[in-house]
């Protein structure tokens, strides 16, 4: 048990972070807080992917002279995937902020229950 905890605690931390973000996304009433939760969720997934690539004793994935072994470098593939995921996260945030501006102009508030109240 302790063994498994010590070797995998990092995944657990990311899962806790993800769940904080997920809770904000589905539990909060303020639309900006939902957006912040979304960013936390996505960032935690990025951390999770990066930690897949880690190798003990591995260095940054830039090839050095005289060190051609795969075991000497961390796995570059998760880094590449996460560059893409970062861009996706930025883009989603941008579009969501633009939508929030439209909502704010229409309802003059960003609280979900107040918006729903003013809709009826």
């Amino acid at each position: 048990m302790i063994d498994s905890l010590m070797s995998k605690y990092n995944y657990w931390i990311y899962i806790v972070l993800m769940m904080i973000g997920f809770y904000a996304m589905i539990g909060k009433k303020n639309l900006v807080k939902k957006l912040i939760g979304m960013n936390i969720f996505q960032t935690a997934i990025i951390l999770y992917y990066i930690s897949i690539g880690v190798k003990k004793g591995g260095t940054v994935p830039v090839l050095m002279e005289g060190l051609p072994h795969a075991a000497a470098y961390v796995n570059p593939l998760p880094h590449v995937l996460m560059l893409t995921a970062i861009v996706v996260s930025v883009s989603t945030t941008g579009v969501a902020l633009a939508v929030l501006l439209l909502i704010y102009r229409r309802y003059k508030t960003l609280e979900e229950d107040e918006i729903l109240k003013s809709m009826r």
């Binding site: 993800m18 996304m25 979304m38 897949i52 995921a85 939508v99």
Partner: protein
């Protein structure tokens, strides 16, 4: 590296992609450019997809290695009968819907035409990219292109659309993140992202809990994206408030492509013997689907807004597609694939009618429609054909997909789902017959508008021709459904299924 491969496999994405970059540039000088460029790009994609489907059916599965790198190191496009078929469906429907989009965009979004068609074309590109790819992460990237474009297009709709779009952003991002987590859980166990490679590596890992969790997250993610019953909350608002050109594009296609992802994951990435039978996913899916079918139909009866009614009917029809997957036999899967095609045509036709109503009357309340059959007789005839097909009256195509689903349910020994399908046909009949009754048989309000009832006021040709092609397609697909099933869909089933 290796011999050059069929360029149609990449042109199907490349032409709409590069055209979408060109629209903002051309738009400065010629504001009508967006429509024609989008139309011609989608037309070119349609030609490519037909070439691909023909090649797949005559020669065999197409592999296209992007950048010349062999899989699993590079990204590859794999086109087999399954996604060749889905690709043709998506291209064909988007072409017809795009033709008819012009008049309603001119009316509803006159000052946003240029950027509208840019994003519109990017949405199409995203959907096609999802369809043809053979790499789970590339699929995620194109899923995000399609989703972002859909969020923006929905948000420019009428009052209430931004809030609907924001809810869709939150739900859609949860779905996409769950999909990404599923990919991560598979990647940590296999080290691969290629679908064919994953399918080869995974059977040895089936006892692992990580793979089970990955399957669960793929399932929840795609279920959110396609609006399966308990997770459908974003769907009705988004479809109702979107501009009519957008809802007639998104409603028939977006959820179908998401259903394709579900089928791809269930059938190709995992073996059906594991994903549907060994773990009780098939059972869960069928029961959720049954709930979706019934709840969607019942909620549709309660609506007085035409587009919202169609949106709830979409929730119910998604249930049919998932039901066929969950039944875990060949007939059921054929039924769901056929339903992807048929429902695409029916919903495109119905939402085009909604767009026509929005164009001519500006409202969507079904109680304001009496006497419309005198004003727009051809449009209303198309509505009647699509409605009959939704109910499942025999010569139309809607009958045949339900027929295969019923046969699949009997084959699986699940008689209760036969009952669900029949009951839901009845409920569908209730809500469509109500519309038909109001339109055709209820007398027009007397002394109302100055326009005068009974005056012919048809929609422009650019809208009515695609509408009639869709309506004719509904009838023709019914006549040729046997050929489609034996010629394409039987080949799309996985080996030993």
């Amino acid at each position: 590296m290796n011999a050059p491969q069929i360029p149609a496999a990449i042109l199907i994405i490349l032409i709409p992609l590069m055209s979408s970059y060109a629209i903002p540039l051309l738009g400065w000088r010629w504001r009508g450019a967006g429509y024609y460029l989008a139309l011609s790009a989608i037309g070119a994609s349609l030609v490519c997809s037909l070439i691909l489907l023909y090649t797949v059916l005559t020669v065999g599965t197409i592999h296209y290695h992007l950048g010349g790198w062999l899989p699993p190191w590079g990204i590859e496009y794999v086109i087999d009968p399954l996604n060749g078929f889905v690709g043709v469906v998506v291209c064909c429907l988007s072409f017809l819907v795009t033709v008819s989009s012009r008049a309603s965009v001119e009316k509803e979004l006159p000052d946003k035409k240029v950027r509208f068609y840019t994003i519109y074309l990017l949405l199409f590109t995203g959907l096609m990219g999802i369809t043809v790819t053979g790499d789970v992460f590339n699929l995620y990237v194109f899923l995000e292109i399609a989703s972002l474009a859909a969020y923006a297009l929905i948000a420019i709709g009428e009052d209430g659309a931004p809030l609907a779009a924001f809810n869709y952003i939150i739900m859609g991002t949860i779905g996409a993140c769950f999909y990404l987590l599923g990919v991560g859980y598979l990647y940590i166990m296999t080290g691969s992202l290629n679908i064919a490679d994953l399918a080869k590596l995974l059977p040895a890992l089936y006892p692992s809990k990580v793979v089970l969790v990955a399957l669960a997250f793929f399932l929840i993610g795609t279920a959110i994206k396609m609006g399966l019953f308990p997770l459908h909350v974003w769907l009705p608002d988004a479809y109702t408030f979107a501009p009519s050109a957008v809802s007639s594009f998104i409603a028939p296609l977006m959820t179908k492509v998401m259903a394709y992802i579900l089928i791809r994951v269930m059938i190709t990435v995992f073996e059906p013997s594991y994903s549907l039978k060994a773990v009780p996913v098939g059972t869960i899916l069928t029961w959720l689907a049954a709930a979706a079918i019934l709840v969607g139909s019942i909620l549709a009866i309660a609506q007085s807004d035409f587009k919202r009614m169609l949106a709830y009917s979409s929730v119910s029809q998604i249930g049919y597609i998932v039901l066929g997957v969950g039944l875990a036999n060949a007939t059921g899967l054929v039924g769901s694939l056929l339903h992807i095609l048929n429902h695409g045509f029916m919903k495109a036709c119905l939402f085009s009618v909604a767009a026509a109503l929005m164009l001519k009357t500006g409202g969507r309340n079904i109680y304001q429609l009496p006497g419309m059959h005198r004003r727009m007789p051809f449009t209303m005839a198309a509505l009647a054909i699509a409605a009959l097909s939704m109910v499942g009256v025999p010569p139309t195509c809607g009958f045949f997909s339900k027929w295969y689903l019923i046969l699949g349910a009997i084959e699986a020994g699940q008689w209760i789902f036969v009952g669900v399908i029949l009951l839901s046909s009845l409920l569908t009949a209730v809500y469509f017959m109500r519309v038909i009754e109001i339109i055709f048989f209820r007398p027009a309000p007397s002394g109302g508008h100055a326009t005068g009832e009974g005056v012919r006021d048809e929609i422009p040709l650019s809208m009515s021709v695609p509408l009639w092609i869709l309506a004719a397609g509904i009838l023709l697909l019914g006549l040729f459904s046997e050929k489609i099933v034996s010629g394409i869909l039987r080949l799309a089933l996985p080996a030993g299924y």
